[in-house]
């Protein structure tokens, strides 16, 4: 999707004509001609949804060369009409931000520093630890109040918190995996 009329206000048709005149070099001053270069004009636009509160403002994310150059509200959105709040208007800095770690980090017991680690190593090591705790703390069968053996398949050594800030599909995968591992301490910030 590229920048199209969808993002133009009503007066757009009037000035679109003005721009056309300018681009033919009829009577625009050089500075005004320069002003007609719009950074998002050649950009690709993607459908986004604001990641902050739960109003769910649809956004248009403009990119160039795999980099986000602008994020604005999508004016077609029926429940927001393309508006954003300051957080929504700052969404670009969640991506373009030098404070973002771009490597997986590991802190050894007792260490006072992070170490960069390959992702594969991280995933392997985390999986091993999950298995070790699960195997050590797993309860397969427990007596119920009325004295019957009940299969409970539960571990009380593991917990997961989060998240209301990830996608539905991610939540689904997480619930499915955690519940099947036997995790009962499963929560997100519904109450925060």
């Amino acid at each position: 999707m590229s920048l199209s009329r969808r993002d133009f206000l009503k007066f757009g048709s009037a000035t679109a004509a003005g721009v056309a005149v300018g681009s033919r070099g009829l009577d625009l001053a050089p500075v005004e001609a320069a002003a007609t270069t719009l950074k998002i004009k050649e950009a690709k636009a993607f459908h986004g949804v604001c990641p902050y509160c739960a109003v769910g403002c649809a956004q248009l994310i403009y990119t160039k060369d795999n980099r986000i150059i602008d994020i604005e509200g999508d004016p077609d959105t029926p429940h927001t009409l393309g508006r954003l709040c300051p957080k929504g208007a700052a969404t670009i800095q969640l991506s373009n931000n030098p404070l973002r770690p771009t490597k997986a980090l590991y802190r050894a017991p007792g260490s006072d520093t992070w170490e960069e680690k390959p992702l594969e190593w991280m995933w392997d090591e985390i999986a091993k630890r999950v298995k070790a705790v699960r195997d050590a703390t797993f309860v397969e069968v427990e007596k119920s109040k009325d004295g019957k053996d009940v299969v409970v398949n539960r571990t009380e050594g593991l917990a997961n918190l989060g998240s209301a800030c990830i996608d539905n599909e991610e939540c689904y995968l997480l619930t499915k995996l955690m519940r099947t591992l036997g995790v009962v301490y499963l929560e997100h910030q519904a109450r925060v």
Binding site: S13, G18, V19, E32, C85
Partner: protein, 258 residues
Amino acid sequence: MARTLAMFTDTSLCIGCRACQVACKQWNELGMEVPEWTGTYQNHTHFTDQTFRLVRFIEEPKPTGELAWLLMSDVCKHCAQAGCLEACPTGAIYRTQYGTVDINQDTCNGCRYCVSSCPFGVVAFNASSGTAKKCTFCNDRIHNGLGPACAKACPTESIQFGFRDELVARAQKRVETLKGMGFKEAQLYGADSNGFLGGLNAFFLLLARPGTYNLPDSPKLPQRNVVVDSLLSIGSAVLVGLGALLAFRERGQGGGDA
């Protein structure tokens, strides 16, 4: 000249969210500034080369004794008689075909006469580029049929963008409506083309007298007395101009009321 464009900021609809302030920074790629303690939610204290939209928060008791929290998104007024434009010796400050006032960064020589000539404390000097900076009315956007970033983001349509004549008519109706609702001091600021500075292309609806919002009741062009004269004289004129600059800049920092 195309039909004049304007921004109408209706403070009666402002919820002080500061979406405009951030959307402006985002689009115009303005940098971070270390804020000062203002004692209120407002930050920053005044317009700078990195802050072109600024939301003001004013606690003011109503005549009934109840509290009003006056919220106002302030911006460059794009005056019809613009002090900055008139003071600019290089012609870098120009009026666009839409009636807005912009600074050509390529021809600005950084003299800062404009800084001292703005009755609203809007124009600021950027040390790294050596040029003057202020709200461009999102010049790149309006030339491409897009509204300014601030107006587009505004959740409550407190900032409205469009043709000036249409906005003025809407604004006048709105004042009447508000008066009917009991907002006795509701008034337009800068809507009148025959009023001060020939009217503002970014004009406002206020719920109290302008002074409450740190706006001058009847702003004037200071350079008519100081800067322009100094330009015409020779020699010591530069020093005079600098003195004026410092004086006005200080006052500008006091909240924009020259």
